[in-house]
Symmetry: C2
Subunit: 239 residues, 2 copies
């Protein structure tokens, strides 16, 4: 279903410094370059779907991605936002199927490494495997921290958290350089674990307090510090 296009960027000439593949030895970087599958996914398309079999892991070369997981009623929940240098599909690695799906938020270029290639690379490159393990460790910390926060926060606090998380993940700028959020009310709700109605209510309230302003239907975080302060009792990082 995805419209996929083969392109050719060798890893050693890739400008993405944070890519995990860079942890491998030069010879292996060459091998991975040759064997990897570089794919372009158009905006709105799935990179992989929930419950699809796990063939390998994706490394984001460029683009913005949302990782989603749908619940019983078919409603979506956004588990994570990912950008350049991040990896995708690692949740499923070692399992049968992907517990989540990944959707391109704009045009995205990813490098796909299949299970066999990955296994060989892990075996031959301690630094690579170790870096990926550390990444998992960090992801686990963040995941549990987040579920701890969400269990305590009110809807308003969760929405503010979501806004800050989005701005930190995607880092867009609106007029006057303030952080800009282009996701829909529903998508914000999917992050904040609530519904679009509540997001609207919170936004109205934040508008009245002049902590956010609108640019069309996009949101500008006018008073970033004020927003951060209102959830500072929980945390200082939003990722």
């Amino acid at each position: 279903m995805n419209r996929r296009k083969r392109v050719t960027t060798q890893c050693f000439e890739c400008k993405n410094a944070s890519c995990f593949v860079k942890q491998c030895s030069p010879e292996y970087i060459g091998l991975i370059s040759a064997k990897k599958n570089q794919i372009k996914i158009n905006k709105g398309q799935y990179i992989f779907r929930e419950d699809s079999p796990v063939f390998g892991i994706y490394f984001i070369q460029q683009g913005r991605v949302k990782v989603v997981s749908s619940n019983i009623d078919g409603k979506e929940q956004i588990v994570r936002l990912a950008g350049d240098g991040h990896i995708l599909g690692h949740r499923g690695y070692g399992g049968e199927t992907h517990p989540v799906g990944a959707v391109a938020q704009n045009d995205v270029w990813v490098c796909f490494l299949d299970n066999a290639l990955l296994y060989d690379a892990f075996k031959a490159n301690f630094e690579f495997l170790y870096a990926i393990m550390m990444f998992y460790s960090k992801e686990l910390r963040k995941s549990e921290q987040r579920s701890k926060y969400f269990a305590q926060m009110t809807v308003e606090e969760r929405v503010i958290f979501a806004l800050l998380y989005i701005s930190e993940s995607f880092g867009l700028e609106g007029m006057e350089g303030s952080p800009l959020i282009t996701l829909s009310r529903q998508e914000i709700a999917d992050i904040a674990a609530t519904n679009a109605d509540q997001v609207s209510r919170v936004l109205t309230s934040l508008k009245n307090r002049e902590q956010v302003s609108m640019e069309g239907k996009n949101i500008i975080l006018a008073d970033l510090e004020g927003l951060k302060k209102s959830i500072a009792r929980y945390t200082t990082s939003y990722s």
Copy 2:
């Protein structure tokens, strides 16, 4: 503060088959045996505290442990229950401090491997590092699955989930072989992300439906299948 006692069980004579250390080469198992720190922690004592520095990882040889994380109001949340062969402190590995604390639920024996020993063992034993990475991957899946479920479930469903989780983690048996739960209302609440009052209410309701019965203040899951059925629309595993 902990009352700790040195004992001496060599890894190769340890009956715990699922210990990750078994993934290492025979020579390394010997080395770890010699360098590890085997400790007994008495019931109720901390194995490590939240926010304490990370010196290494603990491997549970025998015993039951609850992993807790306290929130703003000082209330505790139980993140995980762990038993024989499980590891502790891995959440903090790679970070500065432990994001969680670990408390012995009964007398516990653990083997402590410090950071330097671990790093050497990882570097020299691909299978060991790979197994730990897979463990992280699985933990991440479970953590996110759980927070997804908890966002959707009602209080009653979360309490039932907690009961099933406890019985699966600690596997105790009461009279007639039915699963037995010895945790307090407050501890159950700490798992189900609610408070002790609500747990009481749910238990009363479950008693009326004859799905659970009491043995003193302990809980017997009289109708295990019925309980499972009532949350089957979410999941079939509770770990």
